[in-house]
Amino acid sequence: MSETLPLSILNNRRMEKWVRFQPDRTVKLAVGKVEIGQAVLIALTQIAAEELDIAIDRFAVISGDTADAPDEGSTSSSQSIEMSGRSVRLITAELRARIVDRLARRLNCSPSDIDVLDGAFLLDDEPTGHDYWNFAGDEDFAADIAGTAKPKDPADYKIVGKPVPRRDLAAKISGAGFIHDIVRPDMLHARILRQPSREAVLTAFDEAAVRRAARGDFRIVRVANFVAFVGDDETVVQRAAVAAPAHAKWDKVRKLTPAHQEAAWYLTQPSDDRFVGDSVPDAIAGEVVSETYSRPFVAHAAMAPSCGLAEYRDGRLQVWSHTQGVYPLRNSLADILGLTREQVTVRHAHGAGCYGHNGADDAAVDASVIAMQIPDRCIRVQWRREEEFGYEPVGTAHMTRIKAVLDAAGKPIDWTCEVWAGSHVQRPVYGGNMLTHEALPSPPPAPKPNDPPEAAGGGGTRNGIPLYDFPAKRIIHHLAMTTPVRTSSLRGLGALPNVFALECFVDELAEKAGMDPVTWRLAHLSDPRARRLIESVAERSGWASRGTGGNGKGLGIAWSRYKNKAAYAAVAVEIEVDREVHVRRAWIAADAGLVINPDGATNQLEGGLVHAISMTLKEQVKLDGAGITSLDWDSYPILRFSEIPEISTELVHAPNEPTLGMGECTFGPTAAAIGNAVKHALGVRIRDMPLTRERIAAAILRG
């Protein structure tokens, strides 16, 4: 039985790690997933409140804390509700069953005779005098979780499926609520002079010049090629950090050119080649059609530059971070600083949404390195905007070439998706390096290329296999041995560039076959859940009357099932193109199985759509000289209020289907729907993202 249990339970078997009833008639729920703006904590609380039949207001949630909460790895890949939610459901159902069974034996009745009303036990609708708080005992919490209790029937749900408001928002619009707002006793502010690239060596540093520019007192902490400015006055250390790069000389700095910023650069690079799917046939008769699509390097571009706090007192290091994985960060810190894991505690504190691995972990390492040099003080490191854009890991550039062999009727009988990309995940657990570690006296070796395994949805291969009814499908994945700058997880990994390629190519095949793109899709797709969504957005967007296009107005459609196993989404977009592409209206249909909180789910679907419009139309990290040169919001623009379409969202009600992770499911379809709408509007196809004014002009000239 246990092999079917979620990893979250297998790694944290003791009940007491997850739930405790507190003396004040509240419940402590401890989870390993963290809040990164997705409202996952309220959804997990709804699940626990439902299974225990305790009012939701009685719950206090502890999340992401190596001292007080279970280890659930990283908060990523749309797994929070799919895996952690399933765990919380099994755990709380089991806790309820354990306690109710014991009470039934005491009262000489059947467990099914006992009802629970806000934590109090009733027998035949009469109070028993017992409740969770006075009847639960240590034995209920000390035992391992078996995971065999039967959760409630979804038909009986009273809290799950309801749009319960989240609790963290009030603090965030009242003045506090973020890691950046934490004030500790004896806190010192710190800023960093960044090593421009791995292996760069600081050969000269004009400290006096920096002190003149800073106009105030501060300390300089230097450990090999790591330099920090630390003091009581944040304004002063900020001035020091702004001035410092001009007064530092570095040797062995990496040299990049703009050629490095294009996905095509990977075509020329050595790679670790991997193969997924059906074997290549010796020979296959039919017409071969192939096109190539790309996405450049993209930034997380969180609204808040990263922040980390650390205190080293009495041989123990305490760290606050907006990391997506407190346990992996704790382990990295222990390894880098030569401490035992028991000496290090990492607690999650809220940061700005970044949808992946940004500078959060690195800022925590920065603060910890300084804290080890200045013990007994809390060190608060705040990255600067140019530091976040310049040094966070970015999403890798990614090129996808699709080759289909068509039979006489135009149906694909063989399908190859060939991918060139750098590592999509370089979290330290995947062999990546912490930025600061590379500046310390014993830097780690260059990271080896790595990507999540297929069982976890793959990285560069994510969504590379189409779910259409084609007889033979495969991926050839050229995972580059090196990347020009550090790359790591960004929303959906390879899903967005691969779905962009796949669903644009499908439109191209439909056109070649002289078929309507929606008709073509439905003709090659038997999954009823997918078909229903495509039909929904087609109908709602007025697809049937979209016309032949070419007049500057376009309507495009695309869909995918995220990771080919999580939530389904179909998206239609209506655009206008003058010199630029404007998305005016968008229609979403999604099927995520049992939805815990429909309002939170809608927020994710629509947020993913907006994020994808931004990425598809505007975003590209620029490289030159020592590294990234797009260091502000002018050189890395994102979608603004004036560019947001009207959005209509339909969420399929499927309470008896398992919950499917949905934070990333609209991301790829939106990009492809825009690509298809641009073709409809202009009559020309643009296959390289972002779809900028320059690319549109060039495509029109090309005809």
Binding site: A39, A176, R215, T235, G353, G600, N603, I638
Partner: protein
């Protein structure tokens, strides 16, 4: 040097260098953490406050330039309809951009409690949001505007009854 200004209706005096950014003064000297550091370049709007009735960036603005002025920050909105409207609409995801957005919206609603969608978009175009919560944010401002109009109407009725 000592600089005097009014923050959220309270007269305050701060002793800092004349070129200290207003944002640093609010966060570190007055313990008002609601105005946020996003870029320090007047590009993202996370630091937006209202200065003498007008929404403005606080991250670069030197404190000496706002001496004697009236500053409003998000901390002053606890009982403003905007606060409840943002909660009612769950208008946000990570929430980092929201305090700046609330202040842009506050300045808008102070001068126009019946803004069109175009008015709102214009007022908010200096504020970036990365999570894509824009449609909800617009709905929340519409809701707050309706509450303000309702409040004004009730006030007029009361005034009318009295006269």
């Amino acid at each position: 040097m000592s600089i005097e200004l009014t923050v959220n209706g309270r007269a305050v005096s701060v002793s800092v260098a004349a070129d200290t950014p207003l944002l640093d003064v609010l966060r570190n000297h007055l313990d008002l953490k609601g105005s946020r550091y996003g870029c320090g370049l007047e590009q993202c709007g996370s630091c937006m406050v209202v200065i003498d009735g007008k929404a403005d960036y606080s991250c670069v603005r030197e404190i000496s330039a706002v001496a004697g002025k009236r500053i409003e920050t998000v901390e002053s909105l606890a009982s403003h309809p905007l606060h409840q409207a943002f909660l009612d609409e769950q208008a946000g995801q990570c929430g980092y951009c929201l305090s700046g957005i609330l202040m842009s919206a506050k300045a808008l609603l102070d001068r126009n409690n019946s803004p069109t969608r175009a008015d709102m978009v214009t007022a908010l175009d200096s504020n970036l949001c990365r999570c894509g919560a824009h449609p909800r944010i617009i709905r929340a401002i519409e809701r707050a505007a309706a509450a303000l109009r309702e409040g004004a109407r009730a006030n007029d009725l009361r005034e009318g009854a009295r006269s």
